[in-house]
Amino acid sequence: MKARASLSKHERWSVASRVGAAVLGGYALAAFFASTVSLLVRHPREEALHLGTLPSFLVFLAAVLWAFASRSAWRAWLGILIPLSLLALLTWLLNHTPPS
């Protein structure tokens, strides 16, 4: 616990960056996970909704753990941004394909 007092400037930025990745990146990842799964299932509506929403909080949690467990802040961001952009792309595609 003493370590915090002697955190270097670099380490401080690293922590702040990880917090950003965990909170903003993690939430965005969970949000796009929810919308992608809901759009993939689509029917019945309530079921699609729950299938997307229920696990999304665990996705958020996993992202938070990842952000602080990964070796560097860069890896933390990469590990969140890559699946995030994939899911965002999927959401966009599913939104622009009429349901069969």
């Binding site: 079921e47 729950h50 229920l54 909080f57 938070v64």
Partner: protein
């Protein structure tokens, strides 16, 4: 590598636990109390003791609403049951905003209950996820805290090298950090499933607020009758008589413990008026399992029940929702849940205390930073101050005149004033004495509550004893136990602050620094 991982998880555990620790402490304490929401209301309204027939009560509730909320588009009627003495009427106030009026009706005479006005157990229930803040802000804060709780639990398990071995390690006699830490670990292992389920299901319950993205992605189909509706005028369509609908419910469900429990009427005054009769949940786990009968309110014709078919995810959602509310729990399970909730509260409290103690012990004799002192004071004002202000809330219920206008607000004001005083007291007094004084006074307030009950509403207490009123007497017994528990914690703290070898020096190192 593996050690680094564990260390970073441990770091995350301390910070997620600390940052919203006070919020979580308050959530778990008031949430535990909310398991006895109706029993607390029962004690706080001693004037209201009735046994009633649901059907007759339903009819008089409708008559009452015709008198006080005739122009409202939407009514809700909660009928009394084994845990709830009165009918609770709720109606939407006409207008663009979503505002509701409410009244407690005495089933015995169909009029406004003459019981003292109080929020009762609802205060704890609401505080548990809204903290008396504007509803949206409170709920966002609660969601954030639940997410922090999940993170703290996950990292706590990972960081804890000997998770199960430590379960069998409790060194209560050891001074200082060790026994706090042992208790924290023990409570953590015992309550882990409880905390996980409660934090997760809490998020799930309010997920339309926290995770609306699935719903937004699936374009909303047009639905819902005009619930807000226009203001009901004299020319609007009258309602069909309710008695035949109630009769149908009576035939379908009988008058058992889980017969008719709630009536919802929406779209009043229009042709699309819908009357929904909801059956009591009984001992069923899921909230989705509540059976309903629906009628067109204008014609009185029975409508098809909405398809009750749900997929596995829908069922899981209903079960998680039901688990959190614990309406299914009978007396024994309810008590167990309450005790687990208190243990989880203690888990959070010890975690908070450990954080500051560790910081301080790593400092040696150097002067602590202002931030650390501030944390210590606020820890104290939260952990000891909140039980104290809850006790004051109960005292206010008996001391504020029963007929005073707006007395339920006064009770709430007493709660917050005492809490503010606890904060001030924490800053004025030396640390160790402030802990003891707040815990002692909270303990005494709880212990004397039965005496206060006897002095201020003796005839109600007498009636409770004669009728073997389990809710009333159980409440008082719980208060006695809480009082003893708080005094015991205080005595423990005294023993810690004054180890036997230095009994002559009350000013411990801890005090001299602050």
């Amino acid at each position: 590598m593996k050690e680094g991982f564990r260390r970073s998880m441990s770091w995350l555990h301390t910070w997620t636990g600390l940052l919203l620790g006070w919020v979580l402490f308050a959530m778990f304490l008031t949430g535990s109390a909310a398991y006895y929401r109706w029993e607390i209301t029962h004690w706080m309204q001693p004037e209201l003791r009735s046994t009633s027939q649901p059907l007759e009560t339903a009819l008089s509730a409708v008559t009452r609403l015709e008198n006080i909320a005739a122009d409202s588009p939407q009514w809700f009627i909660d009928l009394p049951d084994g845990r709830n003495d009165a009918a609770r009427l709720l109606w939407r106030i006409p207008g663009p905003e979503r505002r509701f009026g409410q009244e407690t009706m005495d089933p015995a005479n169909g009029r406004k209950a003459l019981a003292r006005e109080t929020l009762g157990g609802d205060f704890f229930y609401r505080f548990h996820f809204q903290f008396h803040l504007p509803p949206l802000w409170g709920r966002y804060l609660a969601g954030l805290a639940a997410m922090f709780m999940l993170a703290a639990l996950a990292t706590g398990v990972i960081a804890h090298r000997r998770f199960f071995a430590d379960f069998f390690t409790f060194r209560p006699g050891r001074p200082g950090l060790r026994s706090w830490l042992d208790f924290h670990n023990l409570a953590g292992v015992l309550t882990l499933p409880f905390c996980l389920v409660l934090a997760y299901s809490g998020l799930v319950i309010l997920s339309p607020l926290y995770m609306p993205w699935g719903r937004l992605a699936l374009a909303e189909p047009a639905h819902n009758p005009p619930a807000a509706g226009p203001i009901v005028t004299k020319h609007s369509i009258p309602m069909a008589p309710l008695a035949p609908m109630l009769q149908a419910a009576d035939e379908a469900w009988g008058r058992t413990e889980n017969g008719l429990r709630r009536i919802e009427i929406s779209g009043r005054g229009t042709e699309a008026c819908i009357v929904t009769l909801v059956r009591g949940q009984g001992r069923s786990l899921s909230v989705n399992s509540a059976e309903r009968l629906r009628f067109n309110g204008a014609s009185g014709l029975r409508l098809d029940a909405p398809s009750g078919e749900r997929g596995p995810a829908g069922n899981l959602h209903g079960a998680l929702y039901g688990l959190h509310l614990a309406r299914f729990a009978g007396p024994f399970l309810r008590c167990l849940l309450f005790l687990t909730g208190l243990l989880a509260t203690a888990l959070i409290g010890t975690g908070l205390v450990l954080w500051t103690q560790r910081r301080r012990s790593s400092l040696g004799h150097t002067r602590p930073a202002f931030g650390l002192v501030l944390l210590e004071k606020l820890n104290l004002a939260c952990i000891a101050g909140l039980p104290l202000s809850i006790a004051a809330f109960f005292w206010a219920n008996r001391l504020v005149p029963a007929t005073l206008e707006g007395r339920s607000d006064v009770e709430v004001q007493v709660f917050f004033c005492v809490w503010a005083a606890a904060v001030a007291h924490a800053f004025i007094r030396p640390q160790a004495s402030a802990w003891r004084e707040q815990l002692d006074s909270a303990g005494l307030l709880y212990l004397c509550l039965p005496a206060l009950d006897l002095l201020t509403s003796g005839k109600h207490l007498q009636a409770a004893v004669i009728n073997a009123d389990r809710a009333h007497l159980g409440f008082l017994a719980t208060m006695l136990v809480c009082g003893l528990l708080l005094l015991r914690i205080s005595a423990k703290m005294r023993a810690h602050a004054n180890p036997p070898s230095h009994t002559t020096q009350p000013a411990t190192a801890e005090e001299s620094v602050t």
